[in-house]
């Protein structure tokens, strides 16, 4: 927590190093979440820029009722939802959206049609390992970007940024049960994508 306290104080003072640290830590995830809400990369980019300005201008008043990441993503999701409403778009997420487990992998009795095969070198896979011409990390990022919007937003906020479940539910207007289902579906979909390249 001390690290975060120092980081917030430095941010409030407009310290470049502190801002760069926070920016590099969160910017890509913020773009993903904003795009999931707005369904429009150009609008998402603008909302993310505006959110960073809010973060810089309001860091001094940050009251520590959440983590720094929780605060930043609350600013972002509020800004994205306002923008969506202004643009006349729906902001509600569909908790029943398709995707997740590959149902075709099972027969009528629920058994594997074809047993999952061990991934090549499964025990020593690292994010940097190159498979099929790309780093594992790049395969994962591409698969995340292809997830349906609600699954993508939940995966980033809960699965990656590790925000509190209640915070994520409030940001996306989801019940905790639906949020969990979306998160599980997202991870199952990612595993299916990775299985295809391994």
């Amino acid at each position: 927590m001390t690290d975060e306290t120092e980081l917030i104080a430095a941010l409030a003072a407009g310290d470049r190093t502190a801002f760069e640290t926070v920016y590099r830590r969160h910017n890509a995830a913020m773009l993903r979440v904003a795009t999931a809400i707005l369904r429009n990369p150009a609008s998402a980019e603008e909302v993310v820029q505006d959110s960073w300005l809010s973060v810089l201008r309001n860091a001094a008043g940050f009251e520590r009722r959440s983590s720094l990441a929780g605060w930043i993503f609350a600013i972002l999701t509020n800004a994205a939802k306002s923008r969506a409403r202004r643009d006349g778009r729906m902001v509600a997420f569909d908790p029943t959206e398709e995707g997740g487990l590959d149902q075709a992998a099972f027969d009528a009795r629920g058994r594997w049609r074809k047993m999952p095969q061990a991934w090549n070198g499964q025990d020593e896979i690292t994010p940097e390992r190159v498979v099929d011409g790309r780093r594992m990390l790049d395969h994962v990022t591409a698969a995340i970007n292809d997830l349906p919007p609600a699954q993508r937003a939940v995966l980033v906020l809960r699965g990656q940024m590790q925000l509190e479940a209640a915070e994520v539910c409030a940001m996306l207007g989801l019940s905790e049960g639906n949020m969990r289902v979306l998160l599980h579906r997202a991870r199952l979909a990612l595993r299916t994508r990775l299985d295809a390249v391994m």
Partner: protein, 88 residues
């Protein structure tokens, strides 16, 4: 009787310890007896680790970022009308 599809559908909830003790035990029992599901389970764990690693700072880094960071800092300073330095 719990089948492979039931197991796969609930495997991520099992990792997150969201299942009741009875259901978790049924899944673990299936896991210990089914080689395909054991592979699936390990791959799901690995997928989770990789997706968490995909947020590491700098993974999306590019040269334009430095310029954007500077522009945002300048805009924030300009926008507060000098108020940020008021206490110092």
């Amino acid at each position: 009787m719990l089948n492979c599809r039931d197991f796969a559908e609930q495997a991520d909830a099992l990792i997150d310890e969201e299942l009741g003790p009875w259901q978790a035990m049924r899944l673990r029992l299936h896991l210990s007896a089914c080689k395909g599901c054991a592979r699936f389970f390990e791959q799901l764990r690995l997928t989770r680790r990789l997706s968490e690693a995909a947020t590491a700072p700098g993974t999306d880094g590019d040269d334009g970022e430095t310029a954007r960071i500077d522009a945002l800092l300048a805009a924030a300073r300009g926008g507060v009308g000098g108020g940020a330095g008021g206490d110092g």
